[in-house]
Each structure stands twice: as structure tokens, then as C-alpha cells.
Subunit: 153 residues, 2 copies
């Protein structure tokens, strides 16, 4: 309401017609809404993951950009690289069945799942190893304090 004027000004020779009712967001709003920084949004754009419209030089994010950002964040959460995410999103075709996209996503997901499980195993190992070392250290510490006590007595 206060950030976006209702309707384009007469001077705006926007060649891309803005569909009525589109709730466009500027970068600050977008960042707050999705818990990312401005830098992040610009970075994603730089990497070709987002493509907001422009009002002059000001970025205007559409519903579509929001959907894409959600996907990016989901991808990040499950450990995909931005490159992977881009690769998958680039296959998106609103007119087709997107079978290729889905297949690629599934393929990448299987590999990523394997990586995650492997990582979990490594972490479990580390936890065990570390716990073991910790008891050993605790043991040494109590022995030393016992020695000190006997020396003091």
C-alpha cells in the first residue's frame, strides 16, 4: 500500500504489462518475509536463480519469484548446492509435464540422500569417538585431583 503505488504512472512505459492484483514486493519486504538478507537476494539473482522485474532500477518480486525462492530455500535446507538448484529449476517449463525436471530432481535427491546418510554416519562416529575421549579425560582429571588430595593430606 505504501511501497507500491496503485497502478503505474502515466509516464511508465512499461513494456511488460503488470497483471492486475499482482502483489509485487521490493527487496526489503522480500528479505524480511523469507528471512534472508538483501545481499542474498541479489546474489541469487546474480547466479540466475531469481529474475525479478524492474521498476527503473528497483527490483520487484512477483509471486513467481516467491515460489522460486521457496524452492531455493528448501533446496538449501536439504543440502543442495545453488548450482544444483539452478540446474533443476532451469528445466521448469510451465507448458509441459516437466518429466525431465522431475527425473533430474529425483536423481539428485537420491544422491543427496545418500550423502546425508553418510554424513550422519560420520557424525555418529565422531560423537562416539568424542564421548569416549571425554570420559577418558574426565577419568584423568579425577585421578589427578585424587593425587593432589593425597599429596595435600
Amino acid at each position: 500500500m505504501k511501497l507500491i503505488s496503485a497502478g503505474e504512472t502515466a509516464a511508465n512505459t512499461n513494456n511488460i504489462p503488470v497483471e492486475a492484483g499482482e502483489d509485487l514486493a521490493r527487496i526489503g519486504e522480500m528479505a524480511k518475509k523469507y528471512g534472508v538478507t538483501l545481499r542474498t537476494l541479489r546474489f541469487y539473482e546474480d547466479k540466475g536463480l531469481l529474475n525479478p522485474q524492474r521498476d527503473g532500477s528497483t527490483r520487484l518480486y512477483t509471486r513467481r519469484d516467491k515460489a522460486r525462492l521457496k524452492l531455493i530455500l528448501l533446496g538449501r535446507k536439504v543440502g543442495f548446492s545453488l548450482r544444483d538448484v539452478k540446474q533443476m529449476m532451469d528445466l521448469y517449463d510451465p507448458t509441459g509435464s516437466n518429466t525431465k525436471q522431475l527425473r533430474l530432481a529425483l536423481d539428485k535427491s537420491e544422491k543427496q540422500l545418500a550423502r546425508l546418510q553418510k554424513q550422519r554416519a560420520l557424525i555418529d562416529d565422531a560423537i562416539n569417538e568424542l564421548s569416549g575421549s571425554m570420559s577418558a579425560v574426565r577419568q584423568m582429571l579425577t585421578e589427578r585431583s585424587a593425587t593432589q588430595a593425597s599429596v595435600a593430606s
Copy 2:
């Protein structure tokens, strides 16, 4: 036998007497034995984690260096940074009880353990999220192929 000559040459004005029976290793041997690269060993030295003797310019790793390397590798395995490892090892005093070292190690270990557990939780989340997405994608794929089949019929 072939890498280390038995006994120093007469010209060797080594001020640090080499204890008899010390099995000194050169960098290649060391690397092979512990599964690290030469670069890694030099890097650790550069960071102050190792301090091999020198025969001229050649590094000679003692039993003590081997023990330290083992500690470094253990630390790495459980996720400590080299800086952490160094900080803990720097407290080592062969003449004292090393209580301070042990306390620091325990302190750092507790924090690292917490980090590891947090990481594991994140990974579990990611695994669940990813598995969910994967079934959704599989579902979509089967639906699409079903549609194709009905179209074909």
C-alpha cells in the same frame, strides 16, 4: 634402513642429541603411514602443530611428532578446527599434571559435542524433508505416466 643412515656423519654438529633407537621418519614415510599428503604435513608445521627436527633442510619426524599427528587426526575426525587442536596441544607440559590442558579439552569437547548433536538433528531434518519431497516427486511422475498411458489408449 635405506632412508636413514645409521648414525650421524662426523660433520653433523647437531646440538640436539638424537636419542639412540629413535626411529626418525622423513616426510614421505610419515605421509604414507598416516594417510596424509606431504602438503598436509608441511601445512601443519606451518601452523605450528608439528615441529620435526631437521637434518639440514630435511624434516625428520620423531615419535613425539607421530603422537602429535595422531592427536591432530583424532581432533579433525571429531570436528575440531586446527586452531582448536593447536590451542589444546600448546598447553601440553610434559613436566606437569596438564590439568589446564585437560580442562580446556573437556570444555571444547562439550561444545563440540553439542555442535555435533545439533548437526545431526539438522541432517535428520534434511533427510526427512528430502524423503518427503522424493515421494511427492515419485507420485507426480507416476501420475504423469498414467496420464500419458490413458492418452495413448
